[in-house]
């Protein structure tokens, strides 16, 4: 029936389900053995017809609360939650049914005040309602599941109704509206047998329906819940056939019901896990072996104490009443071993405390021995079944986990596969060469080689090496001689692989005759990745550029030198021309002066002589002669002027100081500008080679002053120190401007510079606006001679 409801989910979870069912198969089937074992026990007890009552209301309340009420609440909660997720009325009905059963059992013992009839009536009626509800629930499950609004309200309402029904039943029974169900000593009335019989039938049917519908997400729940229902049915059968309330048979029935409750709890946990709510069931049994045994012993002792302290009224009867739950709890908590220990300890304690003769461990009477044996067998069976249940549960859980992990792994593998495919494609199609290597070191940890682990297509293209020829091989095999490459590839990569760093470099690979730009890093220790590109062309272009630059520089250097040479030659030529010119001027001046001048002077003397010889009466002739003498005089002056302008003889005859002095006087006479010259020392004289250039510079300076300076006064000084000769001419004119100094047209300055250049001297011209201009010539000399 559930198939229809859970089909969609069943499909989705199919692999997990298969795994779970396979695991559950053999082991969990063993849990079902408890049903026939319990049935057989009950039949045996009925046959033995032990009629003593071992009723303990408190114990019954406690056990009912634990195994019925709590289990019922857990299942009801589960159903309610499932209904919220997945609003199927069947679930809500099962929830209501289990709630009526659990709460009804508890309420019955609580309000019954020890009256067996009341307890039995309330209990049985509630069971009947619960069974109806279950059957209806399972039958309705999967129908009408769509579009139920406000599911919370439904859950609340349904559970309220369930609790209301319990209250109604209890009230009705207490009010005496119900027929008698049970007579102590005789057993159930016909009504009761009918009610219980029908309940058992309904529960068995429900269990069978559930069992057949264990597919889907509720499979584990359905499995354990159907077992719980069968155990309940078995328990009810036990109490149905009892004749005395509280008899051994009655307790066995109750125990079966409690086991059913435990099974419900298992179902609840299984369901919680199935619906992805963290399970606490197997997790709690995580204590050590010693702890589990210790818990068993403690629980057993507590059980003995409870029996001694609270159940004094029972006297020597129902000795094992508290030990059953102790064994069950021990087995549930710790498994078979602790269960057996609890059983043994319980048997010993019961024998020692309650069986005659008290204080001894060995019973005397055969009947007592048999009672102990039955208790022993029961408890062993309980322990064993619980162990089976527990193991099955653990294995189921494990299987589920494995299935889930496998599923997740599968999904992860798929994602990984996709991702790998993506990266593989990227790796293969990247334009950079990629190679993954493992470094090999010698005994001292020094890198000596490396192995190619993987390379891409670009690697092949960029290196010309084939993938098949390199992968798995050492680099020294692939590129013999690489260990001697001055680039130290192995050392460089070794450093990256061993230190886990990163390195970028450009390097020429001698073995491949190519340049590469490389990024190397180490993703894992001793391994490294090299991503690279071929930059040979770029490097060649750079090299060509560098070479052409060097060539250009060389050419420029050569041209510069040529230019400097030619400039030097030009200077020499200029200097030579200057001296030639000077020489020529000197010669011309001398020739004119000496020959023409002397001749004229001689002529003048002759004329004067003739004039002296003439008679005084020859006035006309005398006058004429005087006029001629004047004319000759003028001519002499003109000749002198021309000669002096060409080259002042004073410079050659008297030296530079005299020439300067004369020039200054001439200047003052001619221009009216006051001129003062200081000589230091007074009798200063310089080498003949310096005369002409210094005198010409001096003249040029005066020419400039006349032309541009607008000066009224000139102060000149001519000094000689140990290291230099300094000629300075300073005027008080307007001052030469900076821009005029560098003017191409200022040939005067250029001429000055060119004149001192061959002498290693320097001309400085400074102008201060409206204060004047200073020309300074410094010629270095060593001990009075120009250097």
């Amino acid at each position: 029936v559930n198939d229809e409801a859970n089909g969609n989910l069943a499909q989705h979870d199919a692999p997990e389900q298969t795994a779970v069912r396979l695991e559950m198969g053999r082991l969990s089937r063993l849990a079902w053995l408890s049903v026939p074992v319990l049935l057989a026990t009950m039949v045996a007890l009925r046959a033995a017809d032990l009629r003593t009552s071992h009723e303990s209301l408190n114990l019954l309340i406690s056990l009912n609360f634990i195994f019925s009420t709590l289990a019922a609440v857990a299942v009801a909660f589960l159903m309610g939650r499932a209904f919220l997720l997945w609003p199927s009325p069947g679930m809500l009905m099962i929830g209501c049914g289990v709630l009526i059963w659990g709460v009804g059992s508890f309420v019955a013992t609580l309000v019954g005040r020890g009256n067996p009839n009341v307890i039995v009536t309330i209990h049985n009626l509630c069971v009947w309602l619960a069974a109806c509800s279950h059957l209806a629930g399972v039958s309705f499950s999967g129908r009408l599941q769509q579009a139920i609004g406000a599911p919370r309200l439904w859950v609340g309402a349904a559970y309220t109704i369930a609790l209301g029904l319990v209250w109604l039943v209890a009230t009705a029974v207490l009010a005496g509206w119900m027929p008698v169900f049970f007579i102590q000593g005789q057993g159930g009335t016909l009504v009761r047998q009918f009610v219980l019989g029908s309940s058992i039938s309904m529960l068995v049917l429900t269990a069978m329906l559930l069992r057949s519908a264990k597919n889907g997400p509720w499979s584990a729940f359905a499995y354990w819940y159907s077992l719980a229902l069968l155990l309940l049915a078995t328990g009810l059968f036990g109490v149905m056939i009892q004749s005395v309330h509280g008899s051994l048979l009655g307790w066995t029935g109750r125990a079966a019901q409690f086991l059913g409750g435990a099974s419900m709890i298992v179902a609840a946990f299984a369901s919680a896990r199935e619906t992805s709510i963290a399970s606490i069931w197997p997790g709690t049994v995580s204590g050590g072996r010693r702890q589990r045994y210790l818990v068993a012993i403690v629980i057993t002792i507590v059980a003995a104490a409870v029996r001694l302290a609270f159940l004094q009224t029972l006297g020597m009867s129902v000795r094992f009443i508290t030990f059953y739950p102790a064994v069950m709890i021990s087995a549930l908590y710790g498994g078979l071993g602790p269960g057996v220990v609890a059983t043994l300890l319980s048997a010993l304690l019961a024998t020692f405390l309650w069986i005659e003769p008290a204080g001894h461990f060995f019973p005397v009477s055969g009947a007592e021995s048999m009672g102990i044996a039955i208790f022993f067998i029961n408890c062993m069976a309980i322990s064993w079944i619980t162990e089976v249940l527990r193991r099955a549960e653990v294995r189921t859980h494990k299987a589920e986990m494995q299935a889930r992990i496998a599923d997740e792994r599968g999904r992860a593998a798929q994602v990984l596969q996709q991702s790998e495919a993506k990266y593989r494609s990227l790796f293969e199609n990247m334009i950079n060469g990629f190679a993954y290597h493992k470094i090999i070191t010698d005994k001292n940890g020094k890198p000596v080689d490396y192995i190619f682990l993987e390379v891409n297509k670009a690697f092949e293209a960029l290196t010309g090496l084939k993938r098949l020829d390199v992968v798995g091989k050492r680099v020294t095999e692939v590129l013999p001689g690489i260990e001697n490459d001055p680039a130290d590839w192995i050392g460089k990569y070794g450093n990256v692989a061993l230190t886990g760093g990163e390195s970028r470099f450009e390097q020429y690979a001698a073995s491949l005759e190519k340049w590469y730009s490389i990024l190397s890093f180490s993703p894992v220790k001793d391994h490294f990745v090299a991503i690279f590109e071929d930059i040979t062309e770029r490097k060649q272009a750079e090299e060509a550029l560098r070479r052409s630059r060097a060539e250009l520089e060389e050419r420029v250097k050569k041209r510069t030198k040529e230019l400097a040479d030619s400039q030097e030659q030009l200077r020499k030529l200029y200097s030579h021309l200057q001296s030639l010119r000077e020489e020529e001027r000197t010669n011309i001046a001398r020739e004119i002066h000496d020959d023409l001048g002397q001749a004229l002077t001689a002529l003048k003397m002759d004329l004067s002589w003739i004039a002296g010889k003439l008679r005084d009466d020859n006035e006309g002739l005398k006058e004429k002669l005087h006029a001629d003498v004047d004319q000759v005089d003028k001519t002499i002056q003109a000749v002198k002027r021309v000669c002096t302008e060409l080259r002042p003889g004073i410079l050659d005859h008297l030296g530079l100081a005299a020439a300067i002095e004369w020039q200054a006087e001439e200047f003052q006479k001619r221009t009216g500008i006051k001129c003062e010259v200081v000589f230091d020392p007074e009798d200063i004289e310089v080498d003949t080679s310096l005369r002409t250039p210094l005198f010409r510079i001096f003249q040029e300076a005066f020419t400039n002053i006349v032309k541009h300076a607008k000066a009224t006064e000139v102060k000149a000084s001519f000094k000689q120190t140990n290291s230099s000769i300094i000629l300075e001419i300073a005027d008080n004119g307007i001052g030469i401007r900076e821009e005029d100094l560098s003017k191409v047209g200022s040939f005067g300055l250029l001429g000055m510079r060119e004149r001192v250049y061959p002498l290693g001297g320097k001309v400085t011209v400074r102008g201060i606006k409206n204060e004047g201009t200073t020309v300074e010539v410094i010629i270095p000399v060593t001990s009075g001679e120009p250097s």
Binding site: G597, Q598, T601, W609, D633, I650, W662
Partner: protein, 124 residues
């Protein structure tokens, strides 16, 4: 008779001077030199009362010859007869030991009287 050594590289000048002195009664050109070296040579051979030196001469110029004469023939007065009217010449010649400095332009008018004056001074 005053014996005069005339040193001038221009024969026309020497001729003019000889003519000039011939006009006087007590002066005569007894030696002629056309360069400095010749002057020194003649001075060492013959005796003169006065030397008339030109400045511009080939080889050693008049001033240089004057300096040498001042060391070897200190007592013979030297008169510089030069084409150069510049004061620098005169001052340097006098400083170097010349007894007088006369420009050739003024020779006709001043030379004879200058020589007389020089000789008068040197005799004192």
């Amino acid at each position: 008779m005053i014996r005069i050594l005339v040193a001038d590289d221009h024969p026309i000048m020497r001729k003019g001077l000889k003519q000039l002195f011939s006009e006087t009664d007590d002066m005569a050109v007894t030696g002629e030199a056309s360069n400095g070296a010749q002057v020194l040579e003649m001075m060492s051979k013959d005796s003169y009362d006065l030397v008339l030196l030109d400045i511009s001469m080939p080889g050693k110029n008049g001033l240089e010859v004057l300096k040498e004469l001042r060391s070897d023939h200190r007592h013979i007065p030297v008169v510089i007869l030069s084409m150069h009217p510049e004061e620098q010449y005169a001052s340097r010649a006098l400083r170097a030991g010349a007894s007088a400095y006369i420009t050739k332009e003024r020779a006709s008018e001043e030379l004879v009287s200058a020589i007389r004056k020089v000789l008068t001074v040197s005799k004192q």
